[in-house]
Symmetry: C2
Subunit: 331 residues, 2 copies
């Protein structure tokens, strides 16, 4: 099998985050489900934005964040996602390409604008997200290039892809292409409410299409509808080759066949915004995994990346992650 | 004279900042003048952006920053500036209006897009700015509403307004309207290179049209082409009613007739990005000034706002400045 051109190719909803610092009162006044990602239409998004305070725009999107972190870690990375040919689409494309990521998906020139996510960050560093999918609804199987997929050691997809209808078909096509080329498929469950929307299909995916699964505690419990984390751990064990389960400040558990690792979270002085913590963990883990570094080092790398991400607003790294990880792991 | 509806009305180039963390090597490779604001055309801006790393978009513009800080301080504020009717124009308008600022300038629907400024921030927290003026070139006397100007205790303008040709006429019209209504006019010199571009006109402005002048050390030295700060101080003394001269970590000096104050800078643990320090100082000063708090308290308020601004990326406050100032001044 040819040496892969890309360590990881990510597929996701290409979104620009509109980050707004707010308080719990604003969330409850607007009936927003704290901590969740909710889908909203253009009008609802605009109405909420009009009521919100000043914002900061930073490229986002779950898999986009992961792929950006992978590039910052020094991995060869590629991304597939649909923006519109507008100013925010250019912002998204610039930010990911400027890290050296291969991003060749044709932008939409008809239909809705580039997707935006209103990320409402409260003082407890929790984020509540309202996503207008915009141009992401145009992502479909026609955007999956078999040669690109075959050129990636791991094809990584976000569970949020299951929300826009056409992206499901893109997801399954990509998974099939990857496996036909002898490559691996990875999935992040994204959000417990996303799992709730697509539980049966996600269980089938995990059992039949996914080699490396990422989920946090709430997501894996939602997937298997168990009462405890340990019950969910038993359920996922053996369902896919590797499961990396994150538990916030309680670290992460990795299960793969008979191998089990429990890795501490990296301490953080001042947690500002938890947006992108899981995305960054997945990046660190996949960086180590594709470099053959073993699960313990891979998970530690994930923890270091997640710690960097939650120490500032936004879900894109503000330092060079390769340097940061080298410094932390050697110390 | 009627009680003013607005404490301060600001007029400036309406710009969205594109903030990029970089290093000195990148500045020298691209022949960029460190610390300065340089004007570039659309092509030059796009070429530099393409070569730059990932960015964060935050509303900016010198007077826009000042007016946003004033609103955060609790002042009644208004803004005049020209965006295009595009995504970044909507971002700018949202961010300033969401603070309660009156912003009624008609956006352009023909011509260049909303202005952007590539703000290159180096590890020493210095910022180097490359501004594409875009829709700002469309700001002219037709955008100055005499009733709005007459309704503001102080009309504040940035020196950068002298760069787009039509804005000069807007500037002079606004100054005349303000004085005709018995109000005051304030000017910030903006940048030593901007002073260099327009020195003779700026000297005339300061002598004949400006009541309250803001300048940093480099700018006031450039205006009067003196060798020392003290020589420049003597030159400006008496030229206008109030001169507030900032000296970075060395604090500020305020001269007004026989009155002189020297006020310390507010200590900052970790300076991240000096963008907007002067804008924030002017906001704090004008907030105190229009509230009749005296020069010493006004300057202290300016120092507190400047310290908040340089402790993070971007030139818009990340905390409520009214609360911050109340806490600092009472402690």
């Amino acid at each position: 099998m040819a040496q892969p051109r890309f360590d990881v190719l990510g597929i996701g909803n290409a979104i620009v985050d509109v980050i707004i610092q707010t308080d719990d009162g604003f969330l409850s006044e607007n009936n927003l489900l704290k901590g969740a990602m909710s889908l909203v239409d253009a009008e609802t998004s605009a109405a909420l934005y009009d009521k919100s305070g000043p914002a900061i725009e930073i490229s986002g999107g779950s898999a986009g964040n992961t792929i950006s972190c992978l590039a910052s870690l020094g991995s060869n990375a590629a991304y597939v996602g649909k923006v519109f040919d507008d100013q925010l689409g250019h912002v998204f494309a610039h930010d990911i390409r400027s890290l050296g990521v291969h991003f060749a998906t044709t932008p939409a020139t008809e239909g809705p604008p580039t997707a935006t996510c209103l990320v409402l960050v409260t003082k407890d560093a929790e984020r509540t997200m309202q996503t207008f999918l915009g141009a992401c609804v145009g992502l479909g199987p026609q955007d999956i290039d078999e040669d690109e997929i075959a050129a990636a050691a791991v094809t990584y997809m976000e569970g949020y892809l299951w929300d826009p209808e056409e992206a499901k078909a893109a997801f399954l096509k990509a998974a099939d292409c990857a496996h036909a080329a002898g490559r691996e498929v990875s999935l992040s469950l994204s959000d417990p409410f996303c799992v709730d929307r697509h539980r049966d299909e996600f269980r089938d995916l995990v059992a039949n299409h996914v080699d490396i699964l990422f989920a946090n505690e709430d997501e894996i419990i939602s997937l298997y509808q168990t009462n405890t984390f340990d019950e969910a751990l038993q359920a996922v064990r053996g369902a896919c080759k590797v499961a990396a389960l994150t538990r916030g400040e309680n670290g992460s558990v990795i299960v793969s066949g008979d191998e089990v690792h429990s890795v501490d979270a990296e301490p953080v002085d001042n947690v500002i915004d938890t947006t992108g913590a899981g995305d960054a963990y997945a990046a660190g883990f996949l960086h180590g995994y594709t470099a053959g570094q073993g699960f313990a080092v891979s998970a530690r790398t994930g923890s270091i990346c997640a710690a960097e991400m939650i120490s500032h607003l936004g879900a894109r790294a503000q330092v060079n992650l390769k340097d940061l990880v080298a410094e932390k792991i050697s110390s």
